[in-house]
Symmetry: C3
Subunit: 275 residues, 3 copies
């Protein structure tokens, strides 16, 4: 995989990414995109969502702090991005936590094609069940991905990727990315990233940026985004000084993306391909 | 008081805290909860507020950036948490600044039982006046708490705590906590914390987390939260380097919570009990 | 110009600034205002916007993450501030990006008098075109301000300032401020500030604070705000350590405002006056 080229193209093209995302982590998402060389716009009103998307290069839809006010924005922006051929990324934050999020996710899956879907394993399993009621009996949605259940998890993800036509990325202890044919298992990252709010949202936005800059190579683009975020988690952790905690770590992660080069990404990525 | 045990139980149980809170400080609130070992969820839409609360262990309602859209969420989540016996904390941010906030606070006081109410002295005095129009002539709502007016302030707070059934916490130069019977006077903290936006919101969320993990000991739980925040303010200040200002301080405070142990809290807390 | 006195008066009077602003950068705006010695309030609901403004000393209206819900708040708060003689600052974030923002900006320009308008050159050109359809053929809205096109840009800004009665501030590689008569060219700042989200929003809020504390000297107040932000960008950059990126820089900038004195501002400001 040409991960270096993916990041180099991102920095060279500086894509404009439209984010309809939660207010908890919007600032971190914006700074992460800037750190990676992309440019962020946040706009969530139904009166402008589609028009803003039309002027951008990629779209990131995020269900955190979902609002009735912005559901029409998610749908209209997603459809406009599809019409124009812009990549759209879905982050189904907490989709299993309420009927409202589940119904919104179902409506999105029905009417918008996603270039990529990124979540934790529980969110992705919930999404897959929503997508097809014929999906039948499922593993425990809370099942963490381990080396032991890796083959069956990969089968499940490959099938979900095929049915949706999206590159599916699951992040957790191990990160898995598949386009329905090839699967990448990524072993970057640190468990302490779970103590920083918004690293998932940041990764979803970064995925949209990598896809916008690498349209011909969607699988590689998503793998590059996932590796970059995990690697930044490792680089940021190495910068931790005594007394520093999750706030300092949050900044070190984004600052590591700021300094990450294509070559550095290529060298630090821990990817294994399985087909 | 067993403050060490309160924090140890919080870290051991990792309660999920639902926050309906302002967008100015939501990110800091989320990271503060993570630093303390709790887990945050923010969700404010009327279509999901009660359902999200049902899946959590505690609820934090905050009137900052109050919106007409989310008033029904505050009410329905509060009532659902009451029904399920989850502790609910009210932070009446700026309740004296508009009729809208005052009316919302009055509606909340009428229909939701709060395990704790936390604000500055002016907010708490306004709230008390709203709670009972029979309360009559009041001291200047802007009166700061001083060593001189401490006895009369404690009388006032004790009475308000009895009438609401809430543990009442007033933070400022001195911090006061009472359940209507016992009163704790806390002398932790630094005046420079007032230069960091959101330390009050963070404390209210932390109070919900301490209460969720220590349901049998509400007074101690609130005292532990107030002491922890003040102590983090002292520890964070000790980490300040030349050139650092309120942004660095903000991070040092949360990072200090990240490293705070039960024993450290017990040792650093400056509490005097009066009954 | 007495820039030192402007900042000294701001720190001495500690004005309360009402911000109706986007959720992406609201936290940074609040901390920046605190760093400068002002006090922030964010409130955007139509049910309280005008009343909150009435209790404040200045108002900052920002079109980022514009919402249908808050358009009436922008209008009513702006009009109330005008009625009471409080300075109002407009930040037309992304006004060229959607019809919704353009229509809202047009409605604001029609019904609210702004003490100052601050944006990048593209936003200000769009705003000027909206203000007067008679404005006719315009330079490319994307034209950056350079030493070469400085005279014609100053003419354009002077004319826009006269027509609106606002002090107009354009920030970019060069910063320009004019009240329609005098023009200030400011050469503070660093290009890396563009990699930090929200430095523009922060400057707009800071401008409202400087105006509130220096009502007799609007031009100087705006020049002082622009110089202070640019100087903080230089001071913050000087604090950067190896490995630090845009997140650390964000904090260094605000922390530099925290430590900035009137004398330091006077000494570090790079202003040239042209009339």
């Amino acid at each position: 995989m040409m991960l270096a080229a993916c990041l180099d193209r991102l920095r060279a093209s500086s894509p404009l990414i439209h984010n309809i995302t939660n207010y908890v982590t919007a600032n971190d998402v914006a700074n992460l995109l800037l750190a990676a060389g992309a440019r962020p716009i946040m706009a969530d009103d139904p009166r402008e969502a589609a028009q803003i998307t039309a002027g951008c290069d990629g779209l990131h839809l995020n269900l955190g702090t979902l609002s009735s006010r912005t559901v029409p924005s998610l749908l209209s922006a997603g459809q406009e991005a599809n019409r124009l051929g812009h990549p759209v990324v879905l982050d189904p934050v907490g989709v299993g936590a309420s009927d409202f999020r589940a119904e919104t996710a179902r409506a999105l899956l029905k009417t918008v094609h996603f270039a990529a879907i990124r979540g934790n394993i529980s969110e992705i399993r919930t999404l897959a069940a929503l997508h097809s009621s014929a999906y039948g009996v499922d593993a425990d949605p809370a099942d963490a991905v381990t080396e032991d259940n890796l083959p069956s998890t990969l089968d499940f993800l490959r099938s979900f990727a095929r049915r949706t036509g999206a590159v599916v990325a699951v992040t957790g202890k191990l990160d898995l990315v598949t386009d329905g044919v090839q699967c990448a298992v990524i072993r970057n990252g640190r468990p302490e990233m779970g103590k920083v709010t918004g690293t998932g949202c940041q990764l979803s936005a970064l995925t949209a940026a990598f896809l916008a800059a690498n349209r011909e190579h969607p699988l590689e683009a998503v793998v590059a985004a996932v590796c970059a975020m995990g690697l930044a988690g490792e680089m940021g952790w190495a910068q931790m000084k005594p007394g520093e905690g999750n706030m300092a770590y949050r900044d070190h992660i984004i600052d590591s993306i700021y300094h990450l080069t294509g070559q550095g990404l290529e060298k630090g990525a821990k990817v294994a391909l399985e087909s």
